[in-house]
Amino acid sequence: MADSKRINKEDTGRLLDEWSKEFSVSVPSRENGMPAMLPWDGKDTSFLEWYRNTVIPPKANFFPPYEKMFDFQKGAEGYHLELPPSDKQKQLIFGIRPCDARALTILDTVFQDTYQDPYYLSRRANTVLVGLGCTNPYDSCFCTSLGISPGESTDVDLMFTDTGDGFFIEPVSDKGRELLAATGGLEDGLEADEARAKDVKEAAYRKITRRIDTGDIQQRLAACFENQDYWEKVAAKCVSCGICTFLCPTCYCFDINDELSQDEGTRFRSWDSCSFPIYTRMPMENPRQEKWRRVRQKVCHKYWFYPVNLDITACTGCGRCIRLCPVNWDITQTLNNLPASS
């Protein structure tokens, strides 16, 4: 490839250093005991050894667990509202996996739908995504069923492929091409690197064995939507916690709450989850009081309602919901065992 580059692994720190001059760089980090995309400390590149994927999905870098929407203050003239200062600092996320990058493309659709979400979209516009292809996916991964290849991505700006001693670097977007052109100290990619990268990508693809059957999925879900027995059976062991939704890279539901201390306060938004009964509870009734309705909503939303509305399935097969579930509720089993009708 003409505009591809290569770099030795031991030079990764130097490259991140260079990018840090222009960007606030985030890398996979587990300094808090749990892997997430956190600001690079300027030295540690040990993630190259241990990193498979983060627990906290990179959506948190754009749509954090909670954020300030605005402050308010009551004065003699009435209420004054103050937006948080817009962050002009450019961001770079290094090492995002193809599934999680696709998740951002999915989130873009809902946060742009009709009304622009200023908080998410401004961070998104400010950020360069540097993808890193998987070489060692988890046994819970099923991205290939969602049309994602673990080694490739069209949703990032630059794509890195681990070729053993180094990385083969391909620009994906114009933003990535510009960044690559402006980055010094990179060698041109060799044909041998490209060939090696191709093998790595194919090998990663083959490593993913977990599958879901996506054929006619909307029709199949519609056919068993009213099958209460099936949904009750599927939901029986769910404990209605928020892990699968909070840590899903495509789940975007949120709650809005105010904090008051006398005459001033803050409006926050924070992650919310369709697993919680309170999520839909109204004073007189709750349309999804029963657990099976909530489980059904989660599954149908991802594979049926979301694609009908926004033309893309709201799942990337990253497997977090399976891997992190405290009772091993497995969405692939739910989808693969859908009964043919009610």
């Binding site: 937006l83 009709t114 009304y115 949120f254 105010d258």
Partner: protein
């Protein structure tokens, strides 16, 4: 006025930032319901603001939170805006505590509103229960102010008891309007009640408005809506001829926060006004 709905009446380009509005009048409707009259603090917005009957807003009591209510006044009467609040929880309690002159926040208008153009030249049947009259009230006054455009008007309105009837001043006005066929009913009357008794769906069945060249617009508690649709079907209304405006728990009002869906439809984004044809697939299940 911009035609792009997403840009209409945005405060500082941020769709989540409310406009400041001032309460101008408070009317006690029933023991648990008040109607609040308000206007925007910003004079330009006060001039420019427009909406369609059936659209809703997000109302803030700063420090307590936001809640969703339809605008219950008619776009044809624009010296102020109105909404009705039943006291049921944190934000509605706080709204009830506001005084004339208090400031609150308003975002909107959101939602589709009623397809008013398609109602022209038709007989209109309004069926409402309790505070469910609020969104229909906006539409009814709009229709009355454009009376020539529409044919016969039937209104069936009911509440649990005489004390629970909202907008009594409107009920009187419509009852006195010879161009409107108005039926008011209560589930159970009291000593002074001389009007009808009976549940709304049954009273509707007795009133038996014709389905010919008609549309029915229904709003009330879910249980009433569920029992009203079959009656309308019996009277010959097709699912396309029946409209309702739905209420769900909402936070953002703009189709992002996720909780108000019925199947793939979001009450805030695709509604709150739906034809029965749109929602009948889910109505037994999640509404």
């Amino acid at each position: 006025m911009t035609t792009d709905v997403s840009q209409r009446f945005l405060a500082r380009d941020n769709v989540y930032l409310p406009h400041i509005a001032v309460i101008e009048k408070i009317i006690d409707e029933t023991p648990g319901v008040v109607t609040l009259h308000f206007n925007f603090k910003d004079e330009k917005l006060r001039e420019e603001f427009t909406f369609k009957p059936g659209q809703f807003g997000e109302y803030s009591v700063f420090g307590i939170g936001e809640a969703t209510f339809c605008i219950s006044s008619s776009p044809t009467r624009r010296d102020h805006l109105e909404f009705a609040v039943q006291r049921v929880g944190k934000v509605t309690n706080a709204l009830h505590r506001l005084d004339v002159g208090s400031e609150m926040g308003f975002r909107g208008p959101y939602g589709n509103g009623f397809p008013l153009d398609s109602f022209a030249g038709k007989n209109l049947v309004f069926v409402a229960g309790g505070i469910g009259l609020a969104p229909l009230r906006s539409l009814i006054w709009n229709v009355i102010d454009d009376r020539d455009k529409y044919e016969k008007i039937d209104i069936v309105y009911g509440a649990r008891s005489p004390a629970d009837l909202c907008f009594k001043y409107d009920l009187d006005a419509w009852g006195n309007d010879s161009s409107i066929n108005m039926v008011t009913t209560v589930d159970k009357g009291d000593a002074s009640w001389t009007g009808r008794e009976g549940f709304v769906p049954q009273v509707l069945e007795q009133a038996a408005p014709s389905a010919r060249n008609a549309v029915a617009i229904v709003c009330g508690p879910p249980i009433m809506i569920r029992f009203t649709f079959p009656v309308l079907e019996k009277l010959g209304f097709t699912p396309e001829q029946m409209f309702t405006t739905l209420e769900k728990r909402m936070k953002c009002g703009i189709g992002k926060c996720g909780r108000c869906n019925i199947g793939n439809l979001y009450v805030c984004r695709d509604g709150p006004v739906f034809s029965f044809a749109q929602i009948k697939g889910f109505i037994s299940s999640e509404y």
